[in-house]
């Protein structure tokens, strides 16, 4: 007899979880039984998603950021390439579209978020990949590269339809890079850039929101807040121009629109009785990462409904607690409740610089330094942060995915080095 852990999804969360579990269970047993680990994904292409931001600006190429999933997993981990039909949590079984059924002792859901292009009227229809693009998938980012290349001036609108989205800072980074890109091409004065967001500021949390809003202003990028896109008119069929129409009736004209579509959890979650919420995200305990659905189901990364960013850094920090809790669960021990919502993002600001933000469930992004008082500057543009962002891709393939600890960067948010906010003194 063996115990089986099935991991759904071979992206950031699934890969690092499977590799960490493998390292533990190659020497440990559960109730005197061997533990086998199976990873399921619909294809064998692992995309380093942060690179998608750089594709439209011609700053990276596919061979640098797409690698086989199987090469990121330890060879003793079984990889199954198939689409998931549904999960039967009553029978502890995953049913694949190819007909195979995988019974599990523990299930890890790591299937991330998907783009729900069709949920916005007009998006994905007329003008899609001609005048209206997204850089949130490889096909869109690639199509956008040629569109930017032939763009000679006019109105560029960058729009987030609604939250939650993956990497909430990416659309802002796109604006900053567009400012840099058109400056380099010598046509910045011919391009009007507008960032239209459903939020009431540039970002969610007050201090970072104010810092990012002044950066937009410095770079001459217009900020339009509380804009809720209802309809996208991607070709000028009615003589009123290409435009985004808000639910409140406001219209925003564009020559080129870069839209971040609505996000849902994976479709099979919706087909699995009792597994997901209305958006197909899986209700998850924010501190243990055990699902609220059944005690042998754990969730990591973008697939959860926890209130922190959907981002690779979050997934990385969640990984430590998640793996420890799977081990504890199988050993019939109480779970570790220490995941604090830690997120850490480099924000590319163009011209070879970047900002860094670091926060968790309770502490908003603050100025200071990371991880200690002499580290990288927080909430402040610096070349050091830009280099950090570039170097991170190496760290991702060689340390994060194999499940190795990154020196100096732990799962808990470091407080040392952060300047306190007025209302937060009691917490530090």
């Amino acid at each position: 007899m063996t115990k089986r852990i099935v991991v759904l999804g071979g992206g950031t969360g699934g890969t690092l979880t499977a590799n960490r579990l493998h390292r533990h269970y190659k020497v440990h047993r559960v109730d005197d039984q061997r533990v086998e680990i199976v990873v399921v994904d619909q294809d064998n292409h692992h995309v380093y998603q942060p690179a998608l931001l750089f594709v439209p600006f011609g700053l990276t190429s596919r061979q640098e950021f797409v690698r086989p999933r199987t090469e990121q997993l330890h060879p003793d981990i079984e990889f199954v390439e198939d689409t998931i039909n549904h999960v039967d949590t009553f029978r502890d079984t995953v049913v694949l579209d190819g007909g195979r059924e995988l019974a599990y002792d523990v299930l890890v859901i790591a299937t991330g978020a998907t783009l729900a292009v069709d949920e916005t009227e007009g998006l994905g229809g007329a003008g899609w990949n001609e005048n209206v693009f997204t850089f949130y998938d490889l096909a869109g980012a690639t199509a956008l590269e040629s569109a930017l290349d032939s763009f000679e001036g006019g109105k560029l609108v960058v729009n987030v339809v609604d939250m939650p989205i993956k990497c909430p800072v990416a659309p802002l980074e796109f604006c900053f890079l567009a400012d840099w890109y058109f400056t380099e091409r010598g046509i910045r004065d011919k391009v009007e850039i507008t960032y239209a967001t459903p939020l009431d500021g540039a970002f969610t949390k007050p201090i970072a929101s104010a810092a990012l809003a002044s950066l937009l202003e410095e770079k001459g990028i217009k900020l339009l807040t509380e804009f809720n896109t209802g309809t996208v008119v991607g070709t000028d069929t009615d003589g009123d121009g290409k435009r985004l129409i808000g639910y409140d009736g406001r219209e925003l004209e564009f020559d080129l629109a870069v839209v971040v579509p609505l996000h849902n959890g994976a479709a099979y979650v919706g087909r699995s009785e009792g597994l997901g919420d209305e958006l197909n995200f899986v209700p998850t305990d924010p501190h243990t990462l055990q699902s609220k659905v059944k005690e042998n189901v754990f969730v990591i990364g973008d697939a959860t409904d926890v209130l922190t960013s959907k981002a690779g850094s979050v997934t990385h920090f969640e990984g430590e607690v998640l793996v420890s809790n799977i081990e504890r669960f199988l050993d019939h021990e109480p779970l570790d409740t220490s995941y604090d919502g830690h997120a850490n993002c480099f924000i590319e600001t163009g011209f070879g610089k970047a900002l860094l933000i670091d926060f968790n469930y309770d502490t908003e992004p603050l100025p200071g330094h990371f991880p200690t008082a002499v580290g990288m500057p927080l909430l402040k543009e610096s070349r050091f942060n830009h280099l950090g962002k570039l170097l991170f891709q190496w760290v991702y393939w060689h340390a994060l995915l194999p499940g190795r600890d990154i020196p100096g960067v732990g799962a808990d948010m470091p407080r040392h080095g952060k300047q306190r906010s007025n209302n937060e003194e009691a917490m530090v």
Partner: protein
């Protein structure tokens, strides 16, 4: 934080006008706030949304976003904006006496 008198009772509101303590809320207060907001008389449609927001908050500890409202309240997003032109989730949450819905970060 500030105090206001709504429907003859003193309540505590935060800087954005949301209730600090949802238990202080009464239906008469919603009627008064709607009139002051320019929404006018609250119709059955408004009440359906306000009651739904309150129920969700009491069950889940957070008010739904517009997108969730559109999926689960039985009122489409277009209709929601007709009822609450300045933003359905925010306005309805304020009128329902619950905190501002948190967009994910």
């Amino acid at each position: 934080m500030s105090t206001a008198t709504l429907a003859g009772t003193q309540v505590t509101l935060n800087a954005e006008g949301f209730f600090d303590d949802p238990t202080q809320w009464t239906r008469d207060m919603a009627v008064e706030m709607a009139a002051a907001d320019g929404i006018g008389t609250l119709t059955d449609g408004h009440w359906k949304v306000i009651e739904f927001m309150r129920r969700e908050f009491l069950e889940k500890g957070a008010g739904p976003t517009v997108r969730m409202l559109g999926k689960v309240s039985g009122v489409s997003i277009k209709e929601l904006y007709q009822l609450f032109p300045k933003g359905p989730a925010k306005t309805a949450a304020r009128l329902a006496g619950i905190p501002k819905p948190k967009g994910c970060i």
